[in-house]
């Protein structure tokens, strides 16, 4: 590597229910992004003309989220006219992928300052709004064995022998940790309130977290994918996992990631650019990795991706202080924990997407900001961030506090 990729800052909007009654539903997707662009500029008195690129993830980049929204948002936020923008889609990894790519650009020495992050207003543009052959072209779906992700999550739980109680217990813990972290103000440095034109707050803090979650409440929820399974998707999955007698459908809205609205933004750059701009680095990117696994079960990518990132960095899991696995589904987190043998106290220490929600394209950026905050607060060194991704892909990033 020619340069060290430093992380100068990482911020995010609060997350709120991604339905018509969510607090951020009234906010345009572009406004979620300009809120963060404005904050980033103001916080550091940033000379935006030094920014080489702004890449933001979005998984359903259509309609009001489409047409390379990031570039248009830059104009709306008044960033220098020389700053280019791109919208990036790698399913749920979109946000973390922009982070990894930004790190790679900086490390290569070909760009000096790059922004990453993402946005997703799931209340306005629902998941899947962009269509695509994976599920909607019968020839493709039949040949590749497409099933909804939840079937894969349930299949993982079945194969590992995790019961409904096991996955629910994980969800309760996520809610408790997230509520405690929010109420203790641990998110305050990174979470930027979303305001109207009058400066009135629309939403200041995460409001999706349900602190009063318990096993009884979760136990009352209906399995989300049992009907899909019965319709034929179980048969598709089991054709590829013949040794499984039947899929136990354990995932519900309570132990899966929440559908929310939100955005994230990260500022990366090399050492010289930081000095020029008067920025203090908060962390550096140690290694990045992408991989792909069986697309039908779809959610087994985090383990192999993490191992790839560790190997690239010459580290083992023992060298990692905190592990953040995106809580797409409880079984995904449990499986990653088992794959890498992560002790409970290192895993998702402030809760995750089950509690706070998973604003698809934005989530990777949210995870980076969470980990930076926690490394600083706990005075720890390294964090591993990983996610399961559509199509069976996996992504990982290792960061280090400086």
């Amino acid at each position: 590597m020619t340069e060290t990729a430093y992380i100068y800052d990482a911020i995010r909007t609060p997350r709120s229910k991604g339905k018509a009654d969510g607090s951020l539903h009234e906010v345009k997707p572009i406004r979620l992004v300009t809120t963060l662009l404005n904050e980033m500029q103001a916080r550091h008195d940033l000379d935006t003309s030094r920014v080489d690129d702004v890449m933001l993830g979005c998984v359903a980049p259509v309609m009001e989220q489409g047409s390379v929204l990031p570039k248009i948002a830059l104009q709306m936020a008044g960033w220098d006219v020389s700053v280019p923008g791109a919208q990036v889609n790698r399913f749920c990894a979109s946000g973390l992928d922009t982070f990894n790519t930004a790190a790679a650009k900086v490390a290569s020495g070909w760009e000096d300052v790059v922004c990453a992050g993402g946005y997703e207003s799931m209340s306005r543009i629902p998941m899947g709004a962009d269509g695509g052959p994976m599920a909607e072209d019968p020839e493709t779906a039949l040949k590749t064995g497409f099933v909804p992700q939840g079937i894969g999550a349930d299949l993982i739980a079945t194969m590992e022998g995790w019961s409904r109680d096991d996955v629910d217990a994980f969800a309760v813990s996520s809610q408790k940790k997230a509520a405690h972290a929010r109420d203790s103000g641990w998110f305050d440095r990174s979470v930027v309130p979303v305001r109207d034109d009058n400066g009135l707050a629309i939403l200041e803090r995460d409001d999706f977290i349900k602190p009063d979650t318990d096993m009884q409440k979760l136990g009352a929820l209906k399995a989300s994918f049992a009907a899909h399974g019965a319709m034929g998707f179980d048969a598709v999955a089991l054709a590829r996992y013949p040794e499984v007698e039947r899929i136990d459908h354990v995932h519900t809205p309570g132990n899966s990631s929440g559908i929310v609205d939100g955005a994230s933004l990260i500022l990366l750059g090399n050492e010289q650019a930081g000095k020029d701009l008067g920025l203090e680095p908060r962390g550096r990117v140690v290694s990045i990795a992408l991989t792909a696994t069986d697309p039908t079960i779809m959610l087994l990518g985090p383990g192999p991706a993490s191992r790839k990132a560790l190997a690239k960095a010459g580290l083992t899991i023992d060298d990692i202080d905190l592990v953040e696995i995106n809580e797409a589904f409880a079984s995904v987190a449990l499986r990653l924990q088992r794959d890498l043998d992560v002790p409970d106290e290192k895993l998702n220490v402030v809760g995750g997407a089950i509690a706070m929600g998973h604003p698809l394209g934005a989530t990777g950026g949210c995870l980076v900001s969470t980990m930076l905050d926690e490394l600083e607060r706990r005075r720890l060194k390294r964090a591993l961030i990983c996610m399961c991704v559509g199509g069976g892909m996996g992504i990982a990033s290792i960061i280090e506090r400086v």
Partner: protein
């Protein structure tokens, strides 16, 4: 004489009456497209034309494509594509005529015939149950390639069109009207043409198809409509759960139907042509046409039936009112054959009749029977307890307990009750007919009639010739089986006949896989992926392991009695190892409270964890091998039956296997499976399996040689 009769009336309406010369039905033969082109040129040039009616001079409207041509098509080339495109081009020209065009559907309009109707602006059908419409191409491994996929999707919308396209069932006029597949139904045949002409007079400008109008949107929602998108996503999985990825035709149809909504109409039609060309050369299509069309036709036409006048049983008797006897009585009554159902006491006989009562109620609930029909049906079953009550029966079928001593007692006692020309059948599934015949006063009138359980659903009968059974008895038995609407499969006497022998290898191979250490769930899944209706372990539980053991003992006892070694089940070594141990551990099958599965009170079942004890091997049988083992065991045993002369024809081997024991239909049957795999490739793979897994996969080269000779003769 001409194929198309062209008549114009004073008002400028031309009626084109299709009357393809030299055949009983109108088909899309080689003369069709040139003929249609000529007609269209004439119509297009007609100055005073106000409308067109398409009618038929035959009993049916139009029967569709020529399957002989399709069977003969070996390569998916440009020539085939052009042929398909030319055929559909005339339909496109027809719907582009500047005047309204009406199809007057006087009889069955299936396949290409219904596609012609779809290219008309209006469809009127006569209210006759025989005037069915539909697109059955999928059942022959094909797709409707003359615009059927694209037009039906445009006419009904995706969700409503898919069941018709994917299942291909014929639809009766009233149901077709309700579904929108026809636009009007008239009471009498002679009302058809007046109704067609009246519609033209009332709608003189209705010449543009909905899909050719500006701003056309598919009914039920455009392809981007969230609801339609949900249908699309679910459809692939729903289809897979039924076809298991074994049938290319429905997959192609679904793909073309969905994508037809995303392109221009003409581009969609071209996609459809490419699709049918690719399907025509698939082994699944060839197998379906050979077996389900030509093979079925051969059996229906009685190709293996001895020559002679047709016989009809006027009165029947069934001995033994157990599950099989009661089922046979139901089958008789359903076909209008009066039947005395006899058991040792009246209560048992009554209980046997009550079974038909239950089945009739079920049929009523499904709308397949009415109360009158039920009364009529039940009145045909006479539950009796005395031999005298069955006197004068044209056919007696003994379905008493599977016990040789009992049968040898019952047969002579009851034979005397037969009418003078009557025949006597035994519904044994294991006991040699020639041995039972020895108990019969006239063995020439004694024959095996092996029904399958449940009789009401399994519409096939294995007819077993004893050594002394006469050809006349066979002819009568054949006619009787067809009389009750079942498929006759004629075999010669052998231990296990044909079906039980082959079925035994299926169950045995399941247990062999268990011994090799394959996970029980994977064994069942491999059978599912192979196309078997039920896994070998599940089905064995239904049959019961106790029965399997009993059959083995019966044959051993027979061997002892006759002083021979019949070699029955000699290859089924896994069966002995596993069933004996299972039974010792109280796992006799579902009826005995559990077998390979545990059964819960809510009707669900799970594989018994105790099966792990049988795993001797290393457990690494690839699924591909397991699938082949399941198919090859059965195919090899079927081939043996054919070679040994137990089976007489390949057609019976194929259809018998599919209908009686569930050999995967997509293969076209066990022998067709060997042929479509390629005899050499099959032999090589069998050798491989024999090397890996044992001698039971060894194939007698002479048996394969006779298959090769058959091909040469056929060619």
């Amino acid at each position: 004489m001409t194929d198309f009769i062209y008549e114009m009336d004073a008002g400028g309406i031309v009626t084109v009456t299709m009357d393809m010369q030299g055949q009983s039905a109108n088909t899309m033969n080689k003369r069709f497209e040139p003929g249609m082109r000529e007609i269209l040129s004439r119509l297009e040039a007609e100055e005073k034309l106000t409308g067109v009616v398409f009618a038929s001079a035959k009993k049916t409207f139009f029967a569709g494509g020529d399957l002989n041509d399709i069977l003969a098509t070996e390569t998916a080339g440009q020539e085939t594509f052009d042929f398909i495109e030319d055929n559909k081009a005339v339909y496109r020209r027809l719907e582009k005529l500047a005047v309204p065009v009406v199809a007057a559907i006087n009889g069955a309009a299936l396949g290409g015939g219904y596609e012609l109707c779809l290219a008309c602006n209006h469809r009127v059908a006569v209210d006759d149950p025989k005037a069915v419409v539909g697109l059955p191409e999928v059942t022959l491994g094909l797709l409707p390639g003359a615009g059927g996929v694209v037009r039906l999707t445009a006419l009904l919308g995706l969700e409503k069109a898919l069941p018709h396209l994917l299942e291909g069932k014929p639809v009766k006029p009233q149901a077709a009207l309700a579904a929108g597949m026809v636009d009007a139904v008239v009471a009498r045949r002679e009302d058809l043409l007046p109704a067609a002409r009246a519609w033209i007079l009332e709608n003189p400008s209705a010449s543009v198809q909905p899909w050719d109008r500006k701003g056309f949107r598919h009914p039920g929602g455009h392809v981007t409509d969230p609801r339609v998108r949900q249908v699309i996503v679910a459809s692939s999985a729903m289809l897979f759960s039924k076809t298991r990825g074994l049938l290319p035709a429905p997959e192609k149809i679904l793909d073309i139907a969905v994508n037809s909504m995303r392109t221009s109409f003409d581009a969609a039609l071209r996609q459809e042509s490419r699709g049918i060309v690719s399907l025509m050369v698939t082994p699944q299509c060839k197998a379906a046409i050979s077996t389900f069309f030509f093979g079925m036709q051969a059996i229906k036409a009685g190709k293996v039936r001895p020559q002679g006048e047709h016989w009809k049983a006027g009165k029947a008797a069934v001995l033994g009112a157990g599950m099989m006897g009661s089922g046979i009585a139901w089958a008789h009554a359903r076909a209008g054959l009066p039947t005395a159902l006899k058991d040792t006491d009246q209560a048992r006989a009554d209980k046997g009749k009550a079974y038909s009562d239950t089945l009739a109620d079920k049929a009523i609930r499904r709308g397949r029977m009415d109360q009158d029909g039920k009364e009529r049906l039940l009145s045909l079953i006479d539950p009796v307890a005395e031999n005298a009550a069955i006197a004068g029966a044209d056919i007696i079928i003994e379905a008493v307990f599977e016990d040789i001593d009992l049968k040898e007692k019952v047969i002579p006692e009851t034979f005397a009750m037969l009418s003078e020309t009557g025949i006597y059948g035994s519904n044994t599934s294991t006991l040699p007919i020639s041995i039972l015949a020895e108990a019969c006063p006239d063995p020439s009138r004694f024959i095996g009639l092996h029904f399958f359980s449940p009789v009401d659903k399994m519409k096939v009968v294995e007819i077993i010739m004893g050594e002394k059974t006469s050809r006349e008895t066979l002819r009568k038995a054949y006619d009787y089986v067809q009389q009750i609407g079942y498929m006759p499969i004629v075999v010669n006497d052998s231990r296990g006949f044909f079906t039980s022998r082959v079925f035994g290898t299926f169950m045995d191979e399941g247990m062999a896989l268990l011994l090799d250490g394959m996970k029980p769930a994977a064994i069942e899944r491999a059978a599912w992926l192979a196309g078997m209706p039920v896994g070998p372990l599940a089905v064995h539980d239904e049959v019961s392991l106790v029965l399997s053991q009993k059959v083995r003992k019966t044959h051993a006892a027979l061997d002892a009695r006759l002083g021979v070694d019949s070699g029955f089940g000699a290859h089924n070594t896994a069966s002995v190892a596993v069933t004996e141990a299972m039974i010792e551990q109280g796992r006799g099958g579902r009826h005995y409270g559990g077998g390979f599965y545990d059964y819960a009170s809510d009707g669900s079942k799970t594989l018994w964890p105790g099966l792990a004890q049988f795993a001797r091997g290393n457990g690494v049988v690839p699924v591909k091998d397991a699938i082949d083992r399941i198919l090859y065991r059965q195919a090899i045993e079927t081939l043996r039956c054919l070679h040994e002369g137990v089976l007489n024809t390949e057609v019976e081997a194929n259809l018998g296997g599919i209908f009686a024991i569930g050999f995967p239909a997509h293969t076209g049957g066990a022998i067709e499976f060997i042929r479509r795999t390629g005899i050499d490739r099959f032999a090589a793979r069998a050798r491989e399996l024999a090397d890996l897994y044992g001698d039971r996969f060894a194939v007698d080269p002479a048996a394969l040689k006779s298959l090769r000779i058959e091909v040469t003769q056929a060619a």
